[in-house]
Amino acid sequence: MKNYILFVSEAFWNTLKGLWVTLKVLFLPAITVQYPTEKLVPYPRFRGMLAYDAEACIACGMCVRACPSKCIALAKAMPVPQQELCSSSGQPVSPEGKRVPKIEWYTIDYGRCNFCGLCEEACPTKTKALWHSLDFEAVFSTREEMTRRWKRGDDLWGTARRSADGQFSAVADQIHIQDVPVRK
């Protein structure tokens, strides 16, 4: 009987203590970030949507080889010998004499991207031609929209094919935290 009363009172006491914990938090400020009106800016190392700079790119194909989910494709602007294309050194060809290959078009399938950063690490140019921006808000309504295409002269976000008319156009549906994405 004594044990029973002890047990009941202890249970009662523990219950009250639990209630106290929740009551305490009720009067503490909430830690919620009210997303559409308040936005977290990610830390500088955050791996967001890939941004691409067609001017800096030397079309070496290192990113294509590094990507574990094969979401990158590119084509060089000028015909270059096949072995150069596949050279594993990835160095830009020296300026004197030979021309540095340039990009004709470059596509990334965002739908399949892993956001792992291997392509960015593989990019051999001094200012990275391909890097993870801090932007993470991107939403697509069709599957083919997810492929972004860049040609020389496009901005960092490239163009996407509109499923309505099949034309490539600049992407207006994304909101970028940075006006100029951080370049790593």
Binding site: T22, L28, A30, Q34, P36, T37, P42, Y43
Partner: protein
């Protein structure tokens, strides 16, 4: 057939003019926010708004004054009006009843609209969240209405394996008692639909009918989880009716009546001018009765820690697993109606109904006190719900039969002793 909708994803959600970027160094970390919450402007603003709301509500109640005593003259006025114009009296009576019934019908509906929102806000803040914020502009004030409209317009699915008629009838069988049960409840002084002399018995009897609807729902759904939920709730609700009813018996013994408004009215006055003569302040008996009634009420309303009939993590959604749209909304409605009912009953039985807790607070009308006490008790329900884990089904029964029921029975005996003691005291036999 279906036209493809191609949305134009162009509207910016985030507008720099009213939005705000949280830079990495300003991230909300509780380490920083909890150190001195009063330094946060949002916290100060929230506190001010809360205080303003509370005092505003009190002021409005003060301005409105007592409603109950004004209702009866209204009716007699209408009667005289009818007499003078030769309108048959029974028409007036009928109209009056219909109006009263409509008001009564509105109680569970309005209650659900408010209580769901309140529950979501309170629970959110207990979990350091915000709860609904956007619908209806101010803190999601219209959230429940939006939910209701959406549920109303949702496709109504009846599973193939279901018993169609019983499946349809189950929500009806749940909701009708949930509305009827409010008939003898006093919402303030003289503010009662039907002032039954056996109000207490009526409430327990009608409220007990709902369990049938839940069993029907569980059985008719043709889903094993629903069936288990329905059977569990049958066992649970029937068992918890006992301690719930027994725990009220001391109150009835002390009050000597079954009329709810009379019980509430009997608790007027103060001991020593300070301590109100509420039943909860009767030594030992009152407190034990209250705790037992509270626990049994939580169990009766199927809420955590007693929500095993719809235990989300075990039985998906229990008896309402197969219900969609409006039918599901009816179950929801009845759940909150019973929560309100329990709180009203507790306020009437144990907290003096519409009596103010301190003499000088009498300037607020009785219905405001009733409402306030009900809200505080409802907060307790939410508080339990969002603090405790769920009982296991056999432990639930153990708890009822091995703890609550004996305690409530003992309490009745104790109440007898207390009454004898009080009688002796009144007769001056003790200490002269």
């Amino acid at each position: 057939m279906e036209e493809t909708i191609q949305p134009k994803f162009s509207e910016p959600v985030f507008n720099r003019s009213h939005g705000r970027l949280l830079m990495p160094e300003n991230r909300y970390w509780p380490t920083r926010m909890w150190k001195n919450p009063w330094s946060l402007p949002t916290y100060r603003r929230g506190a001010a708004v809360l205080a303003g709301l509370l005092s505003g509500a009190a002021g409005a109640a003060w301005l409105l004054g007592e409603i109950g005593p004004r209702v009866a003259p209204l009716y007699s006025m209408a009667e005289q009006y009818a007499l003078s114009y030769g309108i048959p009296l029974f028409l007036v009576q009928t109209a009056w009843t219909v109006i009263k019934a409509a008001v009564l019908l509105a109680v569970p509906l309005v209650n659900a609209l408010f209580a769901v929102w309140w529950e979501r806000k309170i629970s959110a803040h207990m979990q350091s969240r915000m709860g609904p914020m956007y619908v209806g502009r101010w803190h999601g004030a219209l959230q429940t209405i939006a939910d209701g409209i959406k549920l109303f317009l949702k496709e109504d699915l009846v599973p193939e394996s279901a018993d169609k008629i019983v499946h349809l009838l189950a929500p009806v069988a749940v909701i009708i008692p949930a509305i009827l049960v409010f008939a003898p409840i006093p919402f303030g002084r003289e503010l009662v639909y039907a002032d039954l002399d056996i109000g207490t018995v009526y409430v327990f009897a009608v409220g007990g009918v709902s369990v049938m609807g839940i069993i029907m729902a569980g059985w008719a759904s043709g889903n094993k989880f629903s069936l288990l939920g329905g059977l569990r709730s049958a066992a649970q609700l029937v068992s918890y009716e006992l301690p719930r009813t027994f725990s009220v018996i001391p109150v009835i013994m002390l009050a000597g009546t079954l009329n709810l408004s009379a019980i509430a009215g009997l608790q007027a006055g103060y001991w020593g001018g300070v301590l109100p003569r509420w039943f909860i302040f009767y030594p030992v008996v009152g407190q034990v009765a209250f705790v037992v009634f509270l626990i049994a009420s939580v169990a009766e309303t199927n809420r955590i820690p007693f929500d095993i009939p719809e235990a989300e993590s075990e039985l998906v959604a229990g008896f309402n697993t197969e219900y969609s749209g409006m039918k599901f909304a009816l179950f929801f409605l009845s759940e909150f109606a019973y929560v309100l009912l329990s709180c009203l009953l507790m306020a009437a039985f144990f907290f003096g109904g519409g009596e103010p807790p301190l003499p000088f607070l009498g300037f607020l009308p009785s219905w405001a006190w009733f409402l306030g006490k009900t809200l505080v008790l409802m907060f307790c329900f939410l508080w339990f719900r969002w603090t405790f884990p769920r009982f296991r089904v056999d432990r639930l029964m153990d708890f009822n039969w091995k703890f609550l029921l004996p305690v409530s029975l003992l309490n009745i005996a104790a109440a007898g002793v207390l009454i004898w003691f009080l009688d002796c005291w009144a007769a001056g036999l003790l200490g002269g």
